[in-house]
């Protein structure tokens, strides 16, 4: 059981370039999330989805877009990368029957993005 898988794990971009991070989960979870982790700031929610075809903004959505075309996948896009987007990005999912009601999240291993 793979759980939550993120690709790529590492990426270096130049300012202005675009890229997409892919998150895939095999637990049939309805809810999926993208967080960024920066030193001393904990995790901040970028965007989330409560089901296939739906997305919503989190705490820090500017500069990012997302899509949830399939239930198991949640894509995070950077259209024009900026150095301020250098961070570690985590995808997470939860089960509406339990996790979404109480908040337990299942995380991927992270994607480290550096924007030069």
């Amino acid at each position: 059981n793979a759980g939550v898988t993120q690709t790529p794990k590492f990426r270096v971009l130049k300012t202005g370039q675009s890229m997409t991070l892919l998150c895939a989960q095999d637990m049939n979870h309805e809810y999926m999330y993208w967080y960024r982790q920066d030193p001393g700031m904990g995790l901040r929610l970028i965007h989330y989805s409560v089901g296939e075809g739906t997305t919503a903004k989190g705490e820090v959505p500017d500069g990012y877009n997302v899509s949830r075309l399939k239930k198991q996948n949640f894509l995070l896009g950077l259209e024009s990368a900026a150095p301020s987007q250098t961070s570690v990005y985590f995808c997470a999912s939860s089960d509406p029957g339990q996790g979404a009601r109480t908040g337990e999240l299942f995380f991927g291993e992270g994607s480290r993005l550096t924007v030069l």
Binding site: L43, V50, S94, T102, G103, E104, F107, G108
Partner: protein, 115 residues
């Protein structure tokens, strides 16, 4: 504003000694409270949660946490620390009956256990 505070950036403990990692919160209404652990170059892993009931919650790897409503705290504890407990620990809170998108994470506490 709703928030979670982890007042210590780092906690250092000798192996075999008890450990405490502190967490206080501020939310409206009743909270759901969580602890997650992050090992180097890994994602966060769920440790334990408080939803309702007994204030002392037991979780994975021998950890436990005590919910104290009057002090709005949810400190993580372990009676005897192991070197393998060294990791980054996050406290998180979610107001009861809110959506899962309302989970708020603390800034993290790095736990270092010396042999």
């Amino acid at each position: 504003a709703q928030s979670v505070a982890q007042p210590e950036d780092q906690v250092n403990v000798a192996e075999g000694n008890p450990l405490t990692v502190k967490c206080t919160y501020s939310v409206s209404g009743n909270p759901y409270l969580f602890w997650y652990v992050q090992y180097p170059n890994r994602g966060l892993q769920f440790l334990l949660k408080y939803i309702t009931g007994d204030n002392l919650v037991k979780g994975s790897y021998g950890f436990e946490a005590e919910f104290n409503k009057s002090q709005t705290s949810f400190h993580l504890k372990k009676p005897s620390a192991l070197v393998s407990d060294s990791a980054l620990y996050f406290c998180a809170v979610r107001p009861a009956y809110s959506s899962a998108s309302k989970i708020i994470f603390g800034s993290g506490t790095r736990l270092s256990i010396r042999p």
